[in-house]
C-alpha cells in the first residue's frame, strides 16, 4: 500500500488543465478515482499503454481527469467500447469507470456479456444508488422504499446486486467495498488490475446532492457511516450463515478470486492453431 501524498498523485496522474472536477462537495467519486490511481501507482502501470473507458454519468467523468488515453463513450456503452479496444489491441490495459445506472440498467446487457466472454478488462463501478448526473432519479440499484425524484412515494422495485450478478455470470474477480474502506478498496483494485480476465470492483459511494438530500440522510459523512453500518464483511457473513443466521445487510469484501482463461488468450491460441 502506498502512502504517497495527494500532490504526487495529482502531479503524476491528472490532467491539470481539466481541473477542478465537476464533482459536488462530499461526493464519493473523487475518492474512488484517488483509490484507483494509488493502485495504479503501486503497480507501476504504464500510463502510455492504459485506456480509461467510461459511459455517461458523474462516475463516467473520471477518465477525463486522468492523464492517459480516455474514451468517454455513450450512456451504458462503456463496456462494449472497452471490449473493442481490448480485442483490437490486447497490449493495452483497459479500465472502465461506470455508474450503477450506466452499468446495471442501460448497459446491463453489455455487463453480462463481457463477463460471459471474459474480456480482460477491469470495471470499477461507482454505486451511489441513484442517477446522479440527471438530478436524482431512481436507479436499478436504488433500495426499496428509497426516495428519488421519480419515486417521490418511495421505490417499489427490487434492486439489482451488481457484484452478485458478476459473480453468478462467472467473473473471475469480484470485490465490493465502500468509500469508507480505502485500504481494502485499493488492494482490491490492485488485485483486479493484475487479474487476467474480467475483474469487477463495486464501490458504494455517497451522492449527498441527490441520494443523501432526497432521503434526508445528512452529510456525506453520515452517508458513509450509513454505508458502513448497512454492509457486512463476507467473512463475518459466512460465519453467520454457518451458524444458521441471516441478515439484510449488503455483503462486502472480496467475493470472487479465481483463474479463468480470458477471451484474448483463447482467441490468440485458436488463431495460432488455424495456421
Amino acid at each position: 500500500m502506498s502512502f504517497i501524498s495527494n500532490d504526487i498523485i495529482i502531479d503524476k496522474y491528472l490532467r491539470k488543465d481539466m481541473l477542478p472536477t465537476i464533482f459536488c462537495t462530499g461526493c464519493g467519486i473523487g475518492s474512488v478515482m484517488n483509490f484507483s490511481l494509488r493502485a495504479i501507482h503501486d503497480l507501476n502501470i504504464d500510463m502510455n499503454k492504459t485506456v480509461f473507458v467510461s459511459g455517461i454519468g458523474c462516475s463516467s467523468r473520471v477518465p477525463g481527469y486522468i492523464y492517459s488515453d480516455g474514451l468517454h463513450s455513450l450512456h451504458g456503452r462503456a463496456i462494449a467500447y472497452a471490449t473493442g479496444v481490448k480485442l483490437a489491441n490486447p497490449e493495452l490495459k483497459v479500465i472502465v469507470f461506470t455508474g450503477d445506472g450506466d452499468c446495471g440498467a442501460i448497459g446491463g446487457n453489455h455487463f453480462l456479456h463481457a463477463i460471459r466472454r471474459n474480456v480482460d478488462i477491469t470495471v470499477i463501478s461507482i454505486n451511489n444508488f441513484i442517477y446522479g448526473m440527471t438530478g436524482g432519479q431512481v436507479a436499478p440499484t436504488t433500495p426499496l422504499k428509497s426516495k428519488t425524484t421519480t419515486t417521490p412515494y418511495g421505490n417499489i422495485e427490487y434492486p439489482i446486486d451488481l457484484s452478485m450478478t458478476a459473480k453468478v455470470i462467472g467473473a473471475p474477480y469480484v470485490a465490493r467495498w465502500t468509500t469508507a474502506h480505502p485500504v481494502q478498496c485499493i488492494n482490491s483494485i490492485k488485485k483486479a488490475l493484475q487479474k487476467t480476465g474480467f475483474s469487477f470492483v463495486e464501490v458504494l459511494s455517497p451522492c449527498p446532492t441527490s441520494y443523501g438530500r432526497l432521503n434526508k440522510m445528512g452529510t456525506a459523512l453520515d452517508l458513509t457511516k450509513h454505508f458502513k453500518e448497512s454492509t457486512i464483511n463476507i467473512k463475518l457473513y459466512e460465519k453467520m450463515l454457518a451458524e444458521g443466521k441471516t441478515t439484510d445487510k449488503m455483503v462486502i469484501g472480496e467475493l470472487v478470486d479465481i483463474e479463468k482463461e480470458d477471451f484474448n488468450t483463447k482467441y490468440k491460441r485458436f488463431c495460432g492453431e488455424l495456421k
Binding site: R15, H72, A80, T83, A88, H110, F270
Partner: protein, 390 residues
C-alpha cells in the same frame, strides 16, 4: 497485407454474392476488426468475416446486439485498426446513437446496411431502399456522413474498399447501402490487380505529444480533418461525444465552441463534395426527361431508358453512387435542361425530396415507388417515362 489477402483468396475470378463481396472488399482494404450481430440479409457478411479474420491476424467477435457491435467497432478503431460492422434495418436503427458518436468524435468506421423491407421487422428476406433518409438523418443533431450505394456485386467489392478509404480520409462513419437483392445475388467478380488497389489510412499525428491537439486541424495540411493518434501511442488523447475543444476536452455551454466544431464536422466532408461525389450518367446530352436512380434500381432504370430511347423518347439517366452527401449544385446543373425528372426507388419516395429541392419549381419531379420486395421491372419505369414524354 492486401497482397496476402489476394493471394489467400486464390482465384482472380469469383462467382459470389454481394455479402461476400463486402467481405473481400473489407479484407483488401485492411479491415482487421469486425463486430456484428446476425440479421437477414446481412448475416453472410458476419459469417465471411468470422472465417477470414482469424486467418489474417484480425478479430471477429459476435456481440450481444447491434449497439454493442458498433460500440466495439468504434473502440477498436480508436486503437488505429480499421473496423466494420454489417446489419439490416432493425440493427441499423439500434446503431444510430453510436453513428452520431463516430461523427462527433471523428472515429472512422464502416457500417454495411443490407436493406430489407421495413418498418420494424418488416420483410426480412425482401429487398428495399427504405433506409436512405435514415442513413443520413438517423442519428440526432447536425452532422454529415458519407453513404455509397452499389448496383452490382463487383461494385459492392470496389465500393467497400472505397468506403474504408473515405472513412479514413475524412474520419467519418461511411455507410454502404446494399439491399437484399444485391446482398444475396451471385455475379462474377474480378478481384482488382494489387497494383491498382488504393488503400488509404487516416493521417497520423505528425507533431510531438506535447504540442499535439487531437482536434486541431492544419498541422501539416489545409484539410479540416484532424490528425489521428491511436490509443497506446503515447499521445494520451481523450475522446468524447460531448462538444469538445481542440484538446478534446468537454466544453458544453459555449455556442462558439459548438458551432465551430459542428460546422467543421460537416464542412470537412462537404468541402470535398466534387471529389467524393461519384455518379454515372448516360444519354444526358439532349435529355428532356431524366431518370435518377441508385443501387439495385439502377439496373431496371438503365434498361427502361434504353427502351424509351429506341422509341424515340429523349430520356437520360443518372445514377448516384455517392448518395450522401447530396450534391445539390451538381444535381441542379445536370438536371437543368430536363422538364421532368423521374426517381424510381424501392420506398415510397425518399431521395426524391432532395432532388425536388435541387431542381426547383419549374421541373416536374415524379416519384416512381415500389415496395414489397420485388425490384422495379424496366416496364415499371418505362411507364413513367412514356407517361411523361409530352
Amino acid at each position: 497485407m492486401t497482397n496476402d489477402v489476394i493471394r489467400l483468396l486464390g482465384k482472380k475470378n469469383l462467382f459470389i454474392q454481394g455479402d461476400d463481396a463486402v467481405v473481400y472488399g473489407a479484407l483488401i482494404a485492411d479491415c482487421r476488426f469486425f463486430a456484428g450481430y446476425p440479421i437477414t440479409p446481412a448475416t453472410e457478411v458476419a459469417e465471411g468475416m468470422a472465417l477470414w479474420m482469424p486467418r489474417l491476424g484480425g478479430v471477429y467477435v459476435q456481440m450481444e446486439d447491434e449497439i454493442a457491435s458498433i460500440a466495439a467497432v468504434i473502440g477498436a478503431s480508436c486503437t488505429g485498426v480499421k473496423s466494420m460492422t454489417a446489419t439490416s434495418g432493425p440493427g441499423f436503427s439500434l446503431m444510430q446513437e453510436c453513428i452520431g458518436y463516430s461523427c462527433m468524435a471523428e472515429i472512422p468506421c464502416v457500417i454495411v446496411n443490407v436493406q430489407r423491407g421495413g418498418p420494424s421487422t418488416g420483410q426480412p428476406t425482401e429487398a428495399a431502399q427504405g433506409d436512405v433518409m435514415q442513413a443520413m438523418w438517423g442519428t440526432h443533431g447536425d452532422h454529415q456522413i458519407i453513404a455509397l450505394a452499389p448496383k452490382s456485386v463487383q461494385e459492392t467489392l470496389d465500393l467497400t474498399i472505397e468506403a474504408f478509404n473515405l472513412s479514413e480520409d475524412y474520419r467519418v462513419p461511411v455507410i454502404l447501402l446494399l439491399d437484399a437483392e444485391i446482398g444475396h445475388m451471385r455475379e462474377k467478380v474480378v478481384l482488382p490487380e494489387i497494383i491498382n488497389v488504393k488503400v488509404d489510412d487516416r493521417v497520423p499525428a505528425t507533431i510531438g505529444p506535447d504540442k499535439y491537439r487531437p482536434y486541431r486541424t492544419g498541422f501539416t495540411r489545409t484539410s479540416k480533418v484532424p490528425e489521428f493518434a491511436p490509443f497506446g501511442s503515447g499521445y494520451r488523447t481523450y475522446v468524447t461525444g460531448l462538444t469538445h475543444d481542440k484538446r478534446g476536452f468537454p466544453v458544453t455551454t459555449s455556442a462558439e465552441v459548438h458551432e465551430e466544431l459542428v460546422r467543421r464536422l460537416v464542412e470537412k466532408v462537404q468541402d470535398d463534395m466534387d471529389i467524393i461525389w461519384y455518379h454515372e450518367d448516360s444519354f444526358l446530352e439532349d435529355a428532356e426527361i431524366i431518370v435518377v436512380s441508385y443501387g439495385t434500381t439502377a439496373r431496371p432504370a438503365v434498361s427502361a431508358v434504353k427502351m424509351a430511347r429506341k422509341n424515340g423518347i429523349k430520356v437520360g439517366h443518372i445514377r448516384l453512387i455517392t448518395i450522401w452527401p447530396f450534391h445539390y449544385e451538381k444535381m441542379k446543373e445536370v438536371l437543368k435542361n430536363a422538364h421532368t425528372v423521374i426517381v424510381p426507388e424501392m420506398n415510397l419516395g425518399q431521395m426524391v425530396h432532395p432532388i425536388r429541392e435541387a431542381v426547383g419549381k419549374n421541373t416536374k419531379v415524379i416519384s416512381a415507388p415500389k415496395i414489397g420486395g420485388a425490384i422495379h421491372t424496366p416496364y415499371d419505369i418505362l411507364k413513367f417515362i412514356e407517361g411523361d414524354k409530352n
